[in-house]
Amino acid sequence: MRGATHVKWAACAVAVALAATACGGGDSGGGGGGGGADGIVSSSWGDPQNPLEPSNTNEVQGGKVLDMLFRGLKRYDPKTGEAKNMLADKIESSDATNYTITVKDGWTFSNGEKVTAKSFVDAWNYGAALKNNQKNAYFFQYIDGYEKVHPESGSASATTLSGLKTTGDLTFTVKLSQKFSLWPDTLGYAAFSPLPQSFFDDHDGWLSKPVGNGPYTIDSYAKGSSMNLRRWDDYPGDDKAQNGGIDLKVYTDNNTAYTDLTAGNLDLVDDIPASQLTNVQSDLGDRYINTPAGIIQTLAFPFYDKEWDTENGRKVRQGLSMAINRQQITDQIFHQTRTPASDWTSPVLGDEGGFKKGLCGKECEYDADEAKKMISDAGGIPGGQLKISYNADTGSHKEWVDAVCNSINKALDNNRACVGGPVGTFADFRNQVSQQKLTGAWRAGWQMDYPLIQNFLQPLYYTNASSNDGKWSNKEFDDLVDKANAETDKAGAVKTFQDSEQVLVEQMPVIPLWYQNGSAGYSDRVSNVSLNVFSVPVYNEIKVK
């Protein structure tokens, strides 16, 4: 080896690189594929956290796909959130406990298999069974026999839910373990989707290319990078896809997705990065969407810590709530992508569904003088200082936590009254919350599973409920929730749930901060883009020009 060694090396490197390209190529990038009814829409995506199974998907990215791939007994109206019959012909009950469900005839999965009562019963039994580790198993907790197939500890003593019975080809009955009048309205959630036999026969094969009964089928799926969905022409529903298909593309960073949108390489971004909110109006004009979503953000408190679970603690929480200038923070930090909260639900429920603006009253309005007075009357903040914990890895929580603290400090004339407490990762943050390690407040949020007032109250504030992380407990509240669930007419149930919310005003177990909006932007190649009440784009309605 003499002289030209390094030149040879360089040439060699190029040759290897070129060879690697040749092997790696083949996949044509970009949307392409013409316009009109067969046009393909390209959209940003995030890598789903869990395997794509209906009862195992609990975050937006996987939920997005399930929404295109599946139709359940009910479907939530994309605009109003109202639960309407989809595959259900009728759901009948006289006592809010025993339900008879009839499935519409003529529905099939995209592989040709018929959708029957069995498709639902099998899927629900699969979802509830402990051995399948489904993260949404608790959705089946109201069905009789749940504690047998999914005990809190130990092994399951049954493999199927005793409350589920197939009574005919297209009918089945459900027996609940308690009265729950709004239960049929929960059936629009993806966890209740039917599953084809192929799911059970070849589970791995199904996971690599899921088959459902919705308006789209999966054309190709490269885990972690992209999924191409195409319109299913034989789809029997009346919400057929109005475009040729959707190409989902995983982005490492939503800033890059936004850049791609502005450069014209992408049609739809359903998460505008916080740093771009200042120029999104000038970049996109009326192609920027900012609509309410079923998400509320709150500050939670530790009731396992005796200092907070007292009469003085209650006054301090109310005082803190009044010390937060919600309007200013939502305007300046969030650029109006949040709305100051004045109850514990969400505007997407609508007045009929139980949203009541101003229900919280003066306790949720900014009043620095009153706040200071209340907190000092109650002997000050327990421990002398309020620490608000949050995860620092995603979601830019630092900005608003600092702003909230700033607002509190100003109201109390004390620079040390409130500080932020960053936690490195989301997992560690959740760990500290669930293991009751936090002694101050922490950021909490709730994204609804289904647009029902029950979903905003019971899982969060009922004694020992699944997401009652602060371990708050109040008999009056529990009784009202039980009463609401037993009401057989919907209006009565909603009214009673609102009564239970009055208890939250008096006790302030968590401070409501603001309702979160869904934000999205789209290119001028597509039209008729909107976000549903879950802040997921209504893909099947998008039209390509």
Binding site: G29, Q49, N50, P51, Y251, G424
Partner: protein, 307 residues
């Protein structure tokens, strides 16, 4: 030489176990990853327990480590939380990052060394000063600034490149990201080569070669450059590992689904299997690159002998 190689290979074993153990402990210290899997709500205790035993998280750490290492030697790197095999993730991520690294190294060698030779021979001239200032600027600007700036200008404003790399990541789309990734090292390579050349131009053997009447080109390439390349090769060699592991910023900006992205996801989701698996392979790459560099010394300078 043979004995030297064997000794070096044997030295790799404790380094390998040490680093993997450290990474394993570090990821473990961050706490229970299952808590983050259910979003802003608590996983129901039965499912959480079931998941913990499936991923082996209910055992003591030393036992987890032993089981893990045992599996690694059979080629089983475990499963990520989204149900994908870690080996599957590696098979998609490594080729992309290797391609990106090769592009970066190519720029380092071609641009870095030529600039170094040019300035080293013309010390004090305007060209030398210009390159010195330019490289100083490149070194002092963080990679993400250069990356975002190039992305905005070339991708959005002028439309020369696509701002994001497609999932197949072909070579032509990796040119700009490769340049960004290489930028800082490239500046160092240029400066290293420059000082090394400048030092050697006054060496006896260069004077002798010139006195012999050899053509200038031959003196520079055969005599001067070859002897000046040793520190540069060391730098580039260690840089291979650094580029592959450190591509995380560049990969995020340009949407490249390579090793950096997978590591980032793994850390965010506290996925021990992914993080330890990828780092293990990176450690091996690093060790191999170092060995190759050491062996190249002897090729470049025959006076260096290994016992």
């Amino acid at each position: 030489m043979g004995r030297y190689v064997i000794r070096r290979l044997l030295q790799m074993i404790p380094v390998f176990f040490g680093t993997t153990l450290l990474i394993f402990l570090m990821v473990n210290v961050m706490g229970d990853p299952i808590a983050g899997l259910c979003g802003d709500r608590q996983c129901d205790p039965a499912t959480a327990a079931q998941l913990r035993s499936e991923f082996g998280l209910d055992k003591p750490v030393w036992q987890q480590y032993l089981t893990y290492m045992g599996n690694v030697f059979t080629g089983d790197f475990g499963t990520a939380f989204n149900g994908q095999k870690v080996t599957e993730l590696m098979a998609t991520a490594f080729p992309i990052t290797i391609r990106l690294t090769l592009v970066a190294i190519f720029f380092e060698i071609v641009i870095g060394i030529s600039l170094g030779v040019l300035t080293g021979l013309k010390r004090g001239r305007p060209i030398d000063t210009t390159v010195l200032i330019l490289t100083l600027v490149v070194i002092s600007i963080p990679t993400f600034v250069t990356g975002l700036l190039l992305q905005l200008l070339l991708g959005v404003k002028w439309g020369i490149i696509s701002p994001s790399v497609s999932s197949a990541a072909p070579l032509d789309e990796l040119i700009v990201p490769g340049l960004v990734l290489a930028s800082v090292s490239l500046a160092y390579v240029a400066r290293l080569t420059r000082s090394s050349i400048a030092e050697n131009t006054r060496a006896d053997y260069v004077r002798t070669a010139t006195a012999k009447g050899l053509p200038r080109r031959r003196v520079i390439v055969r005599h001067l450059l070859r002897n000046s390349l040793i520190p540069v090769i060391t730098f580039i060699g260690t840089d291979v590992g650094a580029l592959m592991g450190g591509a995380i910023v560049t990969e995020r900006i340009f949407n490249i689904h390579g090793v950096g992205y997978q590591l980032y996801q793994g850390i965010l989701r506290q996925n021990t299997q992914t993080v330890v698996g990828f780092v293990t392979v990176l450690v091996l790459v690093f060790l191999a690159a170092n060995l190759i560099v050491d062996l190249l010394y002897a090729v470049l300078d025959p006076r260096i002998r290994y016992a």
